[in-house]
Symmetry: C2
Subunit: 449 residues, 2 copies
């Protein structure tokens, strides 16, 4: 039993929907289809969701909304006509779009969410109809009926734990269920959307709820690359990575799926595969709880810039009980989130993203560390990058660090910091940002060529 | 102007004192001599300080102390007679030793310290007399007169900052000043001893106070070795290391000078040299504020065992503001001191010495981290060793990490953790203790052969 989610670019046109139909037909296990709103057909196109935002703004301002409604309805009409789905479904969708302009404006916390959600909701209706007319018995199901009950936090809904029991009942349906992504309903029947990565969250929740064997996430790329294509020409794609590895890659600049979106699937122990709607025969990248083999120590190289290091030293620092805790307290009181804290004997560095600092906060840190903790020396180093070598199987292989540092040393890249934690999911290097691309290339060549 | 300190083994016999005299005569800059109590002449011998402890215990218990007094006086007499110093100095020392048994026992917080200090104090008198009779104009000076004024903490005296001004006046003396190490006097004129490394502390204080150009510390070894002689056959001795490097070596098991003893010299920016009384022509090991050259990246390899690692992971750990601080707070509340805290993205390890833990504390840590911080996984790893590669000049050389990890990898030594902080004074490896000696040998061979 598989949950299959399609992103906006996979659903942007009739041509794309035909690919989606073929994908669903190709595997009887694809029983739950989670859909986004229609995305861009070309680079200059407008997403339906963006058109809905404009519609909402004009409605709220009391402007005429006829043009907005027409544009959105026309978008669905083009698809419906090309697929010859008939006028009943178009009438239904047109009515739903127009009815948005009858909702109360005042004291309606959920108005914006309700407008936005219409993109996914109507697309789900359209796709269910398309499947049904093409030999795939299917039905549209609203999140309320499916059991996606969420907290009352507009734009930032959270699934209520009780939802999962209801979702499990969806296993009983014989038809393919087409579920709109991106939103749930509150206990008061209000439409409430998830945050970033919305449709991915719905797919992840449904996958955990129905206890799926696999959560398929169809996009427009052949999975996740082992290094950034902007740095490495034609990097190879990763056949399999673990949730932990994906987190490390996402951390260091890989824009994979939004990682919070994956929590339900991760906690439900449902593996995930990222596949390409335009190339469905490519195996894609599978994201698993545990690797199936031990043969590949390093799965990817990532780099991210805009890091800063606060370096301090104090003679006999490591004799002071609570020194590290006090440093972190000072940062927390300034509402600064840190990333890493490598320590020597009498020195300590705090690595953080530079967006956490302002010149005033930097001065405050220096003042407090000097006065309260009486450090002997403090400096703040800017323009640093983090390079991560990621792979859970590194721990069963000696020599990864040796290969990596030799590659960096041969390319005359100086290492400001190195850290390899006990999890050994990754090795982290901190270097000057000007060396970042060179470092990623050196490491990619060392491990993948 | 040099402050020259001699340890107990350098002062144990007339033969040793003759070497000390030659050393002082050889350099007119040696103007301040800080002395310990006479140490052991052979492995089975008793130190004068230990004899004084026995004397104190018997006196306090109301026992007869004649034998204790006789043993101690005899110890000085043997030296005085062999050096033909005459009876006046012996009488003076004998009276001082006997007078200890006239001090009030009750309500005397400083009695123990006063007994102990007599070892150094009388030895200073003896040595000043010996110098004077051998063409080195010299005088004994009591810490009170010198200006070593300390806090009223028996066994743990701390120098009062005002002392340094008075000490600077010692520069005006023309004679060599012989100063007993190990103790100062309180503002109420009580004798109060320093903690561990006591005479080294006096030397360090005097060196800072008189603004010496060099603090010479004479022991019975040719300086500090680059690796432990118990692991490496005939390791080479280090010509020059910085205070920071010494701290790192001391941390990882090198029993160099007690590092708290060096704070005054370090803060006063006085360089130090460790030399051998029995081989004074050997240049010894110089401990400096900053290296004079840049040519040697690695100065020593140290290893220490009995470390433990607490490893935890939690999905999205690095999104939680204050997570690291909360972990450290839990440890602090249990009065546990940690050493290092390497972090990944969703995992964190706390490295500490195993003496900080008990089975009950371990259980408490697991319970609190699980309940309060809801970690997904936690385990505690025992029997770990830390290996340190030390050298401040590493930072100006790429390739040290590469050489080190290749050496370890070639010897099939798996690395549990690696950390190189921004100071780059050292690289730290955490490995299984069973690999410790093999690792030190592999690294020594890589950097010193």
């Amino acid at each position: 039993m598989k949950v299959t989610k399609f992103g906006g670019s996979s659903l942007a046109s009739a041509t794309q929907l035909c690919k989606v139909l073929d994908i669903i037909k190709a595997d009887y296990e694809r029983r739950f289809v989670v859909v986004s709103a229609p995305g861009k057909r070309t680079a200059e196109d407008t997403k339906v969701t963006d058109a809905l935002i404009k519609y909402y703004q004009n409605y709220k301002a009391g402007n005429d909304v006829t043009a907005d409604q027409e544009w959105i309805i026309e978008r669905y009409r083009a698809i419906i006509e090309e697929l010859s789905l008939g006028s009943a479904i178009l009438d239904k969708i047109a009515k739903a779009i127009k009815d948005l302009a009858t909702l109360p404006i005042d004291n309606n916390r959920f108005l914006y969410d309700t407008f936005l959600a219409a993109g996914e909701d109507n697309n789900a209706k359209l796709i269910a109809e398309f499947f049904s007319q093409n030999d795939v018995p299917a039905q549209y199901i609203h999140p309320k009926e499916a059991g996606i009950i969420v907290s009352s936090e507009p734009g930032n809904a959270r699934i209520l734990p009780s939802s999962y029991d209801k979702l499990e009942n969806l296993r009983e349906y014989n038809d393919v269920l087409v579920i709109p992504g991106f939103f749930g309903v509150t206990v008061d029947d209000e439409i409430c959307t998830f945050s970033r990565g919305g449709s991915d969250i719905t797919g992840s929740i449904v996958a955990a709820g129905v206890k799926a064997d696999l959560y398929e996430n169809f996009t427009d790329v052949n999975g996740i690359f082992a290094a950034h294509p902007g740095v490495i020409d034609n990097p190879h794609s990763i056949p399999e990575l673990t949730y932990k590895e994906m987190r490390e890659l996402a951390y260091a600049g890989f824009s994979v799926l939004h990682d919070e979106a994956l929590i339900p699937a991760y906690r439900g122990k449902v593996p995930l595969v990222i596949k390409n709607t335009n190339n469905p025969d490519h195996p894609g990248t599978k994201i698993v709880i545990e690797h199936t083999g031990k043969d590949i120590p390093v799965i990817g190289i990532a780099g991210d810039d805009h890091f800063v290091s606060i370096n301090m030293s104090k003679y006999l620092m490591n004799r002071e009980v609570g020194f590290g805790r006090k440093v972190l307290q000072i940062l927390e009181d300034l509402n600064i989130r840190f990333e890493h804290m490598p320590t020597g004997i009498d020195d300590m560095s705090i690595v953080l993203r530079d967006r956490e600092l302002t010149p005033i906060k930097e001065q405050e840190i220096i003042t407090q560390l000097t006065r309260k903790l009486e450090v002997d020396h403090i400096d703040i180093q800017h323009d640093l990058s983090i390079i991560m070598i990621v792979g859970e199987n590194m721990k069963s292989q000696v020599g990864v660090m040796s290969t990596a540092t030799k590659a960096l040393s041969d390319n005359h890249i100086n290492l400001t910091m190195i850290s390899q934690g006990s999890s050994e999911v990754s090795i982290m290097f901190v270097i000057n940002s000007e060396d970042e691309k060179k470092a990623v290339r050196a490491l990619y060549d060392a491990f993948f060529k």
